[in-house]
């Protein structure tokens, strides 16, 4: 299946959870915020959130800023 992560289309196995995807990208789930199809997914729901074909996902984190 295909999902779009931060504007980039990615091919991935179906049945993947959000938590699994974040780990597979070598990201620390505790410092990432996710917006799936325009809805915020709280960190404690990453593991129970499954991804589906066509999903649009935004993954964000804090960076330096003023």
């Amino acid at each position: 299946m295909h999902i779009t992560v931060n504007g980039r289309t990615q091919d991935m196995e179906s049945g993947q959870t959000l938590h699994g995807l974040i780990l597979s990208m070598n990201l620390d789930p505790s410092v990432v915020v996710a917006e799936l199809n325009q809805s915020i997914v709280p960190g404690d729901k990453f593991a129970s959130t499954s991804l589906y074909d066509g999903d649009r996902l935004e993954l964000l984190s804090f960076v330096g800023g003023g």
């Binding site: 964000l60 984190s61 960076v63 330096g64 003023g66």
Partner: protein, 263 residues
């Protein structure tokens, strides 16, 4: 003095009136020592897409755990985008403070007062502690206060310019007319300018570029911390009157070799 000069924002009591930022550091490892040297307890961050190629350093690991995090909504061009960024920032779980920054002018990065007020109203109702970045205009300040802002953050000069308190007169009016804390944000380039803002009665200053781009950011952080404290103490002390003509500080009588009584 520290015992009686209480500074509270959003129910949080702060002992430092210097807010700092995390942008533009040549080396993010300097952020923690700058926090320590400056005494700052509030620090800004921005929210961005993670780098899918895994090249982004995690700024959070450089921020001491006692700091109050003040995420900004930089990148927002209207109220809706600012609200979206604020909600995402809160979802990370580092508190509910938010610095509203709504900018669609890319040359001078000047804030849009109308969109800022709209975002402030929505987010204050959602329980955020809202600190809006704004152009120092009294009517915008009043609309932000009505919208539920916890403090008002007028610019001294355009972001990142180090040009100082160019808007001094307008900021003076905000300090005089507004009950909310006035936190001078943007443009402050030197400790003397932060000190000046505090002497005028500003509640605090937010300084990022001037510290982060100094040759020695830790030493500059120390200098800013001291300048803000000095300016605050001067404000509390109540400066003496300004005169046009000289007012002798020493007695004008009893000089040597003068004849007394001839007036």
């Amino acid at each position: 003095m520290e015992h009686t000069d209480i500074f509270e924002i959003g129910g949080k009591r702060l002992s430092s009136r210097l807010f700092t930022g995390t942008g533009k550091y040549g080396n993010d490892a300097l952020i923690a020592p700058v926090c320590e040297a400056s005494g700052s307890e509030v620090i800004t961050v921005a929210l961005r897409r993670v780098d899918l190629d895994g090249k982004t350093d995690n700024v959070m690991k450089h921020i001491p755990s006692h700091m109050t995090l003040l995420p900004n909504t930089s990148g927002a061009r209207n109220a809706d985008e600012a609200v979206r960024i604020a909600r995402l920032a809160r979802a990370i779980g580092c508190g509910d403070w938010i610095k509203i920054e709504v900018i669609s002018d890319n040359r001078y990065l000047l804030p849009d007062g109308y969109e800022t007020a709209k975002a402030t109203e929505i987010l204050a109702k959602e329980g955020f502690v809202v600190l809006p970045y704004m152009n120092p205009d009294l009517y915008v300040a009043r609309s932000l206060a009505d919208a539920g802002a916890a403090a008002i953050m007028p610019l001294g000069a355009p972001i990142g310019t180090n040009r100082g308190l160019r808007t001094e007169e307008m900021i003076r009016i905000l300090i005089e007319e507004m009950e909310l804390p006035i936190i001078v944000d943007a443009g402050i380039g030197a400790p003397s300018q932060a000190c000046r803002a505090m002497e005028m009665g500003a509640a605090a200053c937010l300084v990022n570029t001037a510290i982060a781009t100094a040759s020695d950011p830790v030493l500059m952080g120390l200098a800013f911390g001291r300048a803000v404290t000095a300016g605050r103490e001067a404000w509390l002390a109540g400066p003496g009157a300004i005169a046009t003509l000289a007012q002798a500080s020493s007695p004008l009588t009893g000089f040597l070799d003068r004849t007394e009584g001839a007036s």
